[in-house]
Amino acid sequence: MSYHPNAILRRARLARVLLFASFTVLGGAFFRAQVLQNAEYVVQSENNRLREVPLPGARGTIYDRHGEVIAENLPGYSVSILSPTEDSLRSALTTLSKVVQIEPAQQELAVRRFRRARTRPAVIFNDASFQVVSVLEERRVEFPGLIIQSSPKRYYPDGAAMAALIGYTGEISEDDLSKPKYESYKAGQQVGKTGLELQYEAQLRGKEGRRFVEVDARNRVVRDADVRAEEQPVAPPPLRTNIDLDLQRFAHEYFGDSLRGAVVALDPKTGGVLSLYSAPSYDINKFIGGVSSSFYESLRVDPHRPLVNRALTGTYAPASTWKLATAIIGMELGLVTMDTHMQTPCTGGYYYFRVFKCWDKRGHGDVTLAQAIAKSCDVYFYQLGLKIGLTRLLAGGVSLGFRDSTGVDLPNERTPRWPESTAYFDKRYGARGWNRSVVLSLAIGQADNAQTPLSMARFYAAMATDGMAPTPQVVVRDPERKQILNLDKAQLASVQLALADVVSRGTAAGAQIQGLTIAGKTGTAQVNGQLDNAWFVGYAPANDPKIVLAIIIEEGLHGSTAARAATKMMERYLKARLTMTAIVND
């Protein structure tokens, strides 16, 4: 071995080169990580320590036509928890359930929410009671990661009257989350489920804000204020509707607990939906923050089926209210005018293959079309139907829009049923299973004809105005109207006159109201296995229609029942309008 100083110095020089080289590499590695890749690591470090806590945005307020509140937001509280893993979430839930009651189903729900979005706090209570909040707030230190925050809660001041119209909101379902329409939604957020809340979800949805909390390596919240600037939630502009809340309430009161049916009221000129009600109704406020399963079950098994929205999806044989369609088709074809008599006077029945009865066994005698409308004479319309013929009657019904949905801005509207052509009967009953006598039934609004109150209201709106059918609109926007009646002014005027006669002298005479001219038509529809449904479709005032209203009362026995209800509602609306105008004029 050599320890000569020269040899040692040579080795020392080599060692120094190695030292410099090593430290250059090491320094270079730190330069790369700290200076070149700094931004990337800053993000990772922020991701480590910051957890985003969503600040739920309030949904848009919904107003009626007079600026009365239909839907608003009340302060509420939500309880959620941040967890690193599913196991720790489960154990936290177990501990929490010793302090406040958390049903097993709620716990499962929280776990499912966690799986959907692991970095977001999993919601335990969407709408926690004040008692739960105060208990948890008191013992907050025991539950790291627990987040209690205010969360606006939907409220409908007239919730019980609004089920058919407004619908309700609820937590977005797992099915919906996977749909492209809801791709911007996150588990646990509130979404419109039915009705207007669903239809106008995009406009009503508030922009969620967010704040940040700082967590440590064990996901415990260390700081929950001033960690990073908050983004406040943004409420969307309010939604203005054509609804007349007073009329809606009145309809609710009128139907009460005993009547079943539906009512739709439109502004005949604009199609603005003044009221849309289905009975029995239920309080939609009970759906907010998650409907209780017992309440929902009671609605589901109720024999009166409150969950069915009769105004939109209830299809009923329109019965005599449809006779106006037959009359108009005949007039359009030039077959009749309001003064035309039929060959055979009414003696209480008509023979065609078999006897077709008139509703009045005594018979109406020899009547004109106008009188036939007023008295709702079936025999007259049997003959008119035969005169028109099945093919032309079907085509006429199609062009009057009885096969089309109205296009109302509400979800799940049911398209009415009306045969497009005779092929329908071949298909449905077989080529020999029916005969041309079906035209008699169709002419009086029975047989294969099923209309919603909304579609009938739309048809009568066309008759009430200039033959243009408006698209029903709940939310205020530009009216859309479509010509469906091809009658000249005189013909239209004669139709309107005949309709006014129904209330002044005809089947709805008992429903007339002093100082108010109402035009409309009753209908009494036979339904197998239950009592007759009562219809009234009409408008008022007859000379300058402000409201067109279609009402059906299930098992209401006779159209006059419906007519009484309809006139009361129209009066309510028009009188309130008069008062309103008077106040404005003061």
Partner: protein, 421 residues
């Protein structure tokens, strides 16, 4: 002029002392910062005070040792070596684990109190012993067989340490061994031949790379022409190592395998084994140029960074003081090593020269492995950072080394021109 000469002998290597003091001050400051977390525990919060106490003790030991003589140090090599080997054997039976090396039986514990790690003492003692053996061996080395004595001196404690099993300290022993053989003038081809079985073992995981290495080795043997038997033995060793590597891999404990795999790719196990390294990189990388400020590192405060005051203390430097702080720390280490190398090259005899270089090599391996580990340049082996990592016995041993170096420096030659360069 004997008067000047004797004055120099009594003088202190001020740069060396200052650098060591600066490093220790920096280190204790970082131990203090490591204790400043959002939900502090008193033990770690007060660690810096205990470290300061140990530093006081270390300074006293340093004063005592630096008053002694190199002769005494040389004399003490044997008993120290024997003692540390005995302790290493003892610790195999009664040792306990700690920190990232919880399953390693490295600590001597009496009554629940951890006294220290015999491996720390063994590093120092082995360095002294190796220096003695190498200094005594004056004839030039032509064969690996000639190296049996130094290899035995390192081999015994190395095997005992590996039996703990403490891979990190094992690496330090190998580093010390090769550095001192190099300093003693063992020709580099011989060092390469000596290292070849180990290199084969590492490269065996890729058949192609191992094949290439094997060709290089054969060429080296043919060129350097060691004794025939020795050459055959080395080639054979390499073949065996290449063959047994997969078997050895299976014999590694799962956590050891994981650490090696995680070193190759920390994302294989980001939550468990890779967690330390990943969080350390995030801490360092987020520090940027100037850092988040002393005691203000969020990764540290929120405990994302593990082993903040011990093995990963350098990550705290990176997070809180940024690239500037890292550069200062690394510069201090580089300065220490350059100064120590200077001490080694100016020692007045082979023994102190070898001791000095052995000590610098031990520190060097510690710094490279520990600091490299924080950026995943080295596997996580759990060896501490000299002067920084919290731990009394290690600080004491580090300052003992400083004391020895101060003594050697004091007895060393003056200017390089004094020996005619």
């Amino acid at each position: 002029m004997p008067g000047i000469s004797s004055l120099r002998r009594q003088s202190i290597d001020l740069p060396l002392l200052v650098i060591a003091l600066l490093l220790t001050g920096f280190g204790i400051a970082m131990v203090f910062s490591a204790g400043q977390i959002d939900s502090p525990t008193p033990i770690i919060e007060n660690a810096w005070k205990r470290q300061l106490g140990w530093f006081g003790a270390a300074l006293m030991a340093t004063w005592v040792i630096s008053r002694g003589s190199v002769r005494f140090i040389e004399w003490s090599a044997w008993p120290l070596y024997a003692l540390s080997c005995a302790l290493l054997v003892l610790v195999l039976f009664v040792g306990t684990g700690a920190g990232t090396a919880a399953s390693v039986k490295g600590w001597l514990t009496i009554g629940g109190v951890r006294i220290g790690q015999p491996a720390e003492l063994a590093k120092l003692a082995t360095t002294l012993m190796l220096a003695r053996v190498l200094a005594a061996q004056r004839e030039s080395v032509r064969s690996l067989v000639d190296l049996w004595r130094p290899l035995l001196v390192v081999g015994v404690p190395w095997l005992l340490v590996m039996a703990q099993p403490d891979l990190g300290t094992g690496i330090v022993f190998i580093g010390i061994c090769f550095a001192m053989l190099f300093w003693a003038g063992v020709p580099w081809p011989l060092l390469l031949l000596l290292a070849s079985p180990g290199i084969s073992l590492v490269l065996a995981f890729s058949t192609g790379v191992w094949g290439a290495w094997f060709l290089v080795l054969v060429a080296l043997v043919l060129w350097y022409r060691p004794y025939l038997l020795e050459g055959i033995a080395i080639v054979l060793m390499n073949v065996i190592m290449g063959g047994v590597a997969p078997i050895l891999w299976d014999k590694l404990k799962p956590y050891q395998q994981k650490r090696l795999l995680v070193f190759l790719d920390p994302s294989v196990d980001p939550q468990a084994s890779g967690y330390h390294v990943t969080q350390s990189k995030v801490a360092i990388g987020s520090g940027g140029l100037f850092g988040n400020g002393f005691t203000l590192g969020s990764q540290k405060r929120l405990k994302f960074l593990p082993e903040r005051h011990t093995d990963f203390i350098f990550s705290v430097v990176g997070e809180e003081l940024g690239f500037i702080g890292v550069s200062i720390a690394l510069s201090l280490f580089l300065a220490l090593f350059l100064r120590t190398t200077r001490v080694a090259s100016r020692a007045n005899d082979a023994f102190p020269s070898l001791v000095a270089f052995g000590l610098v090599s031990a520190w060097f391996v510690h710094v490279m492995v520990n600091v490299g580990m924080t950026l995943n340049l080295m596997p996580v082996t759990g060896i501490p950072l000299p002067f920084f990592s919290y731990g009394g016995s290690f600080l004491l041993v580090s300052w003992t080394a400083v004391a020895v170096l101060l003594r050697i420096s004091a007895e060393g030659r003056g200017q390089p021109d004094a020996i005619g360069l």
